[in-house]
Each structure stands twice: as structure tokens, then as C-alpha cells.
């Protein structure tokens, strides 16, 4: 048992950190550091910089563009990406549909789709949730019927993140209504340019446009765009979701926010003393740091339990990471609210491309994103399987209740 990072791991972290420092365009870094969002162009630009280095899908099999890094190194890499205020890779392609295709897809699907994910030529979005199927995802009603040698899909998806940019969407649809709900679902790859697809934006409480409703009205898709076997889609979805959860602690994001909190709390924003001189605030901050340090170790324990080369399998400990990770992301946004104080009040929405409007800011120039971030971050204990669902998973899979 040696709980410190090896010399090799330490130098790897340094290599990644300096690569991000030297290659991430300053405009993008500053935008994300200030709490605003990366535009589509920002994400494409950065993904291509990584792809040129061979780092855009590090967790994939080497033959499809992966790096063969150890699980520890992969987590160091993600940590540094998040800490460095670089855009994270578009998970819908790299962490969701990509692994599903290279694990369950046909050779033709692999050759067609994977290379276009590596350099973000294809923007993917996720067609899982429906108005009537949230926590009860398997209760989805979108249907796919055979027609000729293809399929026709009808239904409605919702909470579809960044669908407004998407070239493709992966869709769970019911292909057999006569069996147990988990056993009649298939996994489809759908071109967003197909006739019959409509995207309607959902405005969120922070004033942003991140999620959408996607309507599928008699959308015809060719036979080859079903993944794996018919009616086995639920297995692929569970595989996908368990991948999603293991990365969902987002320790690097919370670390970056803590660094930001310390920077902003040291400014003489109000009165005689900076917030950082308030003992109560310091104790709240320290308490969050303790939990985050513990979570970082917990994540390492979970990750290092994966033997290199081994196929990732669902691990109920990832529910522990999801619960604590989301709570800490939220706790850090609350600390930022403590720092910004009364000047959280003015509403100064950012543009969809994450740029500022022209008029000068009201109050401190860093204040405008803080309340929206606090409101928006409430979602992290809801999506990706709500924390209530995670607790039930822990009770069942870890405690056997």
C-alpha cells in the first residue's frame, strides 16, 4: 500500500498541466475561469488541439485513438483539464456513445463514427430522458417500429443538453411493448438532419439555454443504425450510465472553484477586510476542503480497483462519488455566494457564445456569473441519476437492504 503518487505519476501531472497552460487559448481559459460557458467553437478548437496531441479520447482503446494510460493517470488528466479551466470533452460522444460503439457496435459503426468523435467532427447529444421517464428511465415511451429494412421512430426526448449544436443523437426507443419494460428497448444512432426531428430550447432558471426538447415525428433511420442486438438497449444504457457516474465526482471542477473562491475572497470587495479574514467563512471553506480531499481519495480508491485493461463494470461505489461529488459542487457555489454577497443581485445574462455583452458590469466584474452558477448547479444532484436514486442503489447493492 503506497498512497502517494509515484514519481512517474507526478511528472505526468506536470506534463499535462504545462500542456494545458501552453496550448489552451487564453480567451477560452479566461472565459471558463470567470464562470462563463465555452461556445461550440471553443470546444471544437480545444478538442482538435488535444486530438493533434493524441489526447482527445485518452480512455479509449489504443486502436481507436486511446492512450493506454492507467486509470490513475486518466483521473490525473481529467483533474488537470478541469483545474486548468479547459473545456471538458463533449461527454456525449467521448464518454457515452463512443464507448458504447467501441464495446457493442459493429465494425462498420466503429469505422464510421469513432474517428469523427475523436476530433469532434460529429457533435453528439443524448436521447434518453422523456417527459414521463426521468428517474424511471426504463418507463420511456418513444417507439421504434420496423419499416422495410429500416426503422421509424416516434416520441419526445427532453433535457437534451446542447442538442442545438448536435449532428447526431443516440436514442433509446421501445421496440417491443409486449415484454418487461427493460427488455423491449433498443439503442439507435440518429442523424439530427433526418426529416421529422425538431428541437425546442428549454430556458433554465439561470436564464441560460443548455437543454432542449427533441421531438421525433416519423423519423426514418436505416437498419444499420441500431447498436448491437434489438431489445438489448437497456444493457447498453446501463453500461453507459455507469461510465457516466464514475466521472461524475468532478473533483477537478470543485478544486478549480475552491481556488477561485480563495482568489476572490482575498479581494477588498466590501468594507475594511476581505471575506477571507472572516473566521466563520474560513471554517466553512475548510470544512468543504476536508470533504473534497476525502472525496479525491475515495475516487482514487474506486479508480484503482479497476484493473488496467479490464472492461469497466458498474461499481455501486460510484454512487458514493455521485452523491458527495454533487453535494460538494453545490457547496462550492454556496461559498461563492458568500463571497459575492449583495452584488449577486444584478441579473446580467451571458450571451449564448459565453461572451459578455457590451455594457460595463454592475458591481464587481466577476460577480455576474455567481448567482446563475449557484442556481444552475442545483441540477447536479438531479441529473445522471438523482441522488435519491443513488441512495437506493447504495442501500441495495452495497448494504443489501
Amino acid at each position: 500500500m503506497d498512497l502517494s503518487f509515484s514519481a512517474d505519476e507526478v511528472s505526468f501531472r506536470e506534463e499535462v498541466r504545462s500542456f494545458v497552460r501552453d496550448n489552451l487559448p487564453a480567451a477560452i481559459r479566461d472565459k471558463l475561469a470567470s464562470g462563463r460557458h465555452a461556445s461550440k467553437d471553443d470546444m471544437v478548437a480545444w478538442t482538435r488541439i488535444l486530438a493533434a496531441k493524441g489526447w482527445s479520447v485518452p480512455h479509449w482503446p489504443v486502436e481507436w485513438g486511446g492512450t493506454g494510460w492507467s486509470p490513475i493517470k486518466l483521473s490525473i488528466f481529467n483533474d488537470e483539464i478541469q483545474r486548468g479551466h479547459a473545456p471538458e470533452s463533449l461527454a456525449f460522444g467521448t464518454s457515452m456513445v463512443g464507448p458504447v460503439i467501441h464495446t457493442f457496435g459493429s465494425q462498420a459503426q466503429k469505422e464510421r463514427f469513432l474517428p469523427r468523435i475523436v476530433d469532434l467532427r460529429d457533435w453528439w447529444c443524448q436521447g434518453f430522458s422523456e417527459p414521463g421517464a426521468g428517474s424511471d428511465l426504463a418507463g420511456l415511451r418513444t417507439s421504434a417500429k420496423r419499416e422495410g429494412d429500416g426503422w421509424v421512430i416516434n416520441g419526445q426526448k427532453t433535457w437534451t443538453t446542447l442538442a442545438q449544436y448536435a449532428d447526431w443523437i443516440f436514442v433509446l426507443a421501445r421496440t417491443d411493448a409486449s415484454v418487461k419494460k427493460q427488455e423491449g428497448i433498443s439503442f439507435f444512432l440518429v442523424d439530427m438532419k433526418s426529416p421529422g426531428i425538431a428541437v425546442r430550447p428549454i430556458q433554465t432558471i439561470d436564464g441560460g439555454h443548455e437543454v432542449n426538447e427533441v421531438f421525433l415525428d416519423n423519423v426514418k433511420i436505416p437498419a444499420e443504425n441500431i447498436v448491437g442486438q434489438e431489445n438489448k438497449g437497456w444493457d447498453y444504457a446501463k453500461f453507459l450510465l455507469s461510465n457516466e457516474r464514475s466521472g461524475i465526482a468532478r473533483v477537478g471542477v470543485s478544486k478549480a472553484r475552491l481556488a477561485k473562491i480563495r482568489r476572490l475572497a482575498a479581494l477588498p470587495t466590501y468594507g475594511e477586510k476581505p471575506k477571507m479574514d472572516d473566521p466563520m467563512f474560513r471554517m466553512k471553506l475548510a470544512a468543504v476542503e476536508v470533504e473534497l480531499k476525502a472525496l479525491e481519495m475515495t475516487q482514487m480508491r474506486v479508480i484503482s480497483a479497476i484493473r488496467p485493461g479490464e472492461k469497466p463494470k458498474p461499481n455501486p461505489m460510484s454512487s458514493v462519488l455521485k452523491i458527495k461529488g454533487s453535494e460538494l459542487q453545490q457547496a462550492t457555489t454556496e461559498l461563492l455566494m458568500d463571497v459575492v454577497g449583495p452584488y449577486a443581485l444584478p441579473f446580467q445574462p451571458e450571451r449564448e457564445d459565453g461572451e459578455r455583452w457590451n455594457e460595463p458590469p454592475v458591481g464587481p466584474d466577476w460577480a455576474s456569473t455567481i448567482a446563475p452558477t449557484y442556481f444552475n448547479t442545483r441540477k447536479v444532484s438531479i441529473y445522471g441519476g438523482s441522488n435519491e436514486i443513488q441512495r437506493s442503489i447504495i442501500a441495495k447493492a452495497i448494504l443489501g437492504l
Binding site: 433554465t204 432558471i205 455566494m337 452584488y343 443581485l345 454592475v362 442545483r378 444532484s381
Partner: protein, 381 residues
């Protein structure tokens, strides 16, 4: 001790409830908020007709002789509907300055106009760097003959963009953070040298940053002692905190009802999600938090009339702490129990959550007031 409303108070509540039901559905609220003013002048007139705008003022001053309980009833009802009209700035803050500090002629000049819905006020007390410190004032007022000349920048002035008159807190003497040496000045919003930048707030209301450059104010527009406004301001803010506690309880009550209704109707796994015990118990804890908040709302309302300034300050801080903590818990958990729908702009809950969040930040958040309370001698001493 008696928790019953008087007949007049019950009638006030009933009328108000009816008006809110008829005119303040969530869709109407969106429409009012989309106007240039950011609220409905028509509703403002209705409030005048119902006697709401004159409620807390003495009859001798042209008011209706109501008190803190009436304000509580009005603000709680307004909270449930997320009312946009500037009742707090005009009646509680501006009007409070008049009630606690103004001379008879000043009261005569303004109170009947307020009660009639013809005059809207804004209180410009805060500044860019003052944070939660009421007395951190850099804006200066210097004497020029019998008149005063104001210079400086005020910030976060609630409805400061639409008020006809501003009541400006400025320093006439003393150091930047001293309680003494402060004056309150009535400034016509259209006066030369007054520049206003209005903007929407996170919770869909309006506020303004206001610049004062060589603004002349006549002697008779000074409220009370030009060096003694600190105590007046303190008292007015205590009233405002009590009023905000009542508004917050209204908001929380609405959030609780919407959430309970959602738990009963939203189905997952073939059953209403309200049948899941973990969610039932969460909702029960929210109920406890709400009832505790309601109790402190009443306590704060009662204690605004307390003569002992120390006891009054403790009670108001205690109420702000309880409201802030209950509001955070209820706002966050109501969102959680809803799931994604609560994150959407079209749905009312998110707006209730945002209003609760901004109420906590007004006049010192829960941590600030807990700190103030902890530096005193205890609530039960």
C-alpha cells in the same frame, strides 16, 4: 397572547387573497415583469384602492392606522404571488423613513400621495463597497447656505429606476463607517445631477445604480437631524427585515404547496412519487422548517414594536437567521423533489427559489445576522 386576526385584518387578507387570485397568476406576473417599468401600474392602483399603500401610516398623516401585523399580512400574500410592485421600497423603506424620522410637513407632503398610489419612493442607502454595513457611506452631503449638495454613488437601490423620489443616505460628518454623521435627503429623481442606471435583478425585480453629481437639496428636504439619521435607518431596516421575513414565508408556503401538489401528481415507476417514504420525510422536514420560519416571522413582527433597541435588534437578527436557513433548505429541497422541471424558466418554483435566495442577501444574510446575534447576550437572557 392571541394569534387571532381582527375582523379588519381578516377582511384585508381576504380582499388581498381575492385580488392575487384574480390578477396575479404566474403568467400575468411574467407579463407585468416584461414591461419597461417591470411591474403593473394598474395593480399599484388596485393596492391603493384596497388601502394597502397607506396601511402602516397614522391616520393623522393620511394613512389607515395599521401596524406591523398588517404589513406582515400584505407581504406574506405578496410573497405567495411573487409580486413585482415596489411595496417594500415605497411603503416599508421610504415610508418607514417618513414614519420614523420625518417632520409633520414632510409627512403631510408625501404620505397621502403614497397612499393614493401617486408617489413611489426608493431608499438609496447602500454603496458599491458597503456590503452589509448600513453605516459604510462615502457619498457626501455638504452644506451650501441653507441647502445641501450631494455627491457620490449609491448602489443596489431597489426600484430606484422607477421611483419618483429617492431618499438618499449621505455622510454629513464623521468617518466612513461611523453611525453618526449620516443624513437622509429627499431627492427628486429628475433633479439635475441625478443619473440612474436601472437593471433587472436575479429574482425578476428591478434595481438601479445611481450617481449623484452636485445634487442640490433644500433644507426642508432633510429628514430630521442631518447627523442623526443612523438610528432612523436602523429602525427602518428592522421593519424592512420583518416585512421580508413575511414575504419569504409567503414564498416558502407557495413552494411547499406546489411541491406537495407535484408529489401527489407526478408519477414514476407507476406510482405518485409522493408515495416514496424518503420524499415524504423530506417534505415533512420542510414543513418543520416552514413552521419554524412562520413563528419567527410573527416574533419579528411583534418585536418591531419593542422599545428596548438591544432586544429588538436581537429578535430581528434571530428572525433573519431562521428565515434564511429555512428558505435555503426549502428552496433547495423543493427543487430537488421536483427534479428537472424545477430548473426551467417557465415553471414557477425556480422563481420562488431565486426570490428566497435574494431575500437572504437583503440587509445581511443568515451568517451575518448569526454573527451579530452571537456577539450579543443571548435570546433568553
Amino acid at each position: 397572547m392571541d394569534f387571532d386576526l381582527s375582523d379588519e385584518q381578516r377582511q384585508l387578507s381576504d380582499n388581498l387573497a381575492r385580488l392575487m387570485k384574480e390578477r396575479y397568476g404566474f403568467e400575468s406576473r411574467k407579463a407585468y415583469g416584461a414591461t419597461a417599468l417591470g411591474f403593473s401600474e394598474d395593480l399599484w392602483r388596485q393596492y391603493a384602492e384596497l388601502g394597502l399603500l397607506g396601511a402602516p401610516f397614522a391616520e393623522a398623516d393620511g394613512g389607515f392606522g395599521g401596524g406591523a401585523v398588517e404589513t406582515m399580512l400584505i407581504e406574506e400574500a405578496f410573497g405567495r404571488s411573487l409580486v413585482l410592485e415596489p411595496y417594500l421600497p415605497t411603503v416599508v423603506l421610504g415610508g418607514g423613513v417618513l414614519r420614523h424620522g420625518a417632520s409633520p410637513p414632510q409627512r403631510e407632503a408625501m404620505i397621502s400621495a403614497i397612499a393614493a398610489g401617486e408617489l413611489r419612493l426608493a431608499l438609496a442607502h447602500a454603496e458599491r463597497g458597503s456590503g452589509f454595513d448600513l453605516f459604510d457611506v462615502a457619498t457626501s452631503a455638504r452644506k451650501d447656505g441653507t441647502a445641501w449638495v450631494l455627491d457620490g454613488e449609491k448602489g443596489l437601490v431597489l426600484n430606484g429606476d422607477s421611483a419618483q423620489k429617492l431618499i438618499v443616505l449621505a455622510r454629513t460628518a464623521g468617518g466612513r463607517r461611523e453611525k453618526t454623521g449620516l443624513g437622509l435627503f429627499v431627492v427628486d429623481a429628475a433633479a439635475p445631477g441625478v443619473a440612474r442606471r436601472g437593471y433587472p435583478t436575479q429574482d425578476g425585480l428591478r434595481a438601479a445604480e445611481i450617481t449623484l453629481a452636485n445634487v442640490r437639496v433644500d433644507a426642508d428636504e432633510v429628514i430630521g437631524d442631518p447627523e442623526g439619521a443612523g438610528v432612523v435607518l436602523e429602525r427602518v431596516v428592522e421593519d424592512a427585515i420583518a416585512a421580508l421575513c413575511a414575504e419569504a414565508v409567503g414564498v416558502m408556503t407557495e413552494a411547499m404547496e406546489i411541491t406537495t401538489e407535484y408529489l401527489k401528481t407526478r408519477k414514476q415507476f407507476g406510482v405518485p412519487i409522493g408515495s416514496f417514504q424518503a420524499l415524504q420525510h423530506r417534505a415533512a422536514d420542510m414543513t418543520v422548517a416552514l413552521e419554524q420560519a412562520r413563528s419567527m416571522m410573527m416574533f419579528a413582527t411583534m418585536m418591531t414594536g419593542e422599545a428596548d433597541a438591544g432586544e429588538r435588534a436581537k429578535a430581528i437578527s434571530a428572525a433573519k437567521v431562521q428565515i434564511g436557513r429555512s428558505a435555503k433548505f426549502i428552496g433547495q429541497q423543493a427543487t430537488q423533489l421536483h427534479g428537472g422541471i424545477a430548473m426551467t424558466y417557465e415553471y414557477k418554483l425556480g422563481h420562488l427559489f431565486k426570490r428566497l435566495t435574494m431575500i437572504d442577501l437583503a440587509f445581511g444574510d443568515a451568517d451575518e445576522h448569526l454573527k451579530r446575534l452571537s456577539e450579543r447576550d443571548g435570546l433568553f437572557s
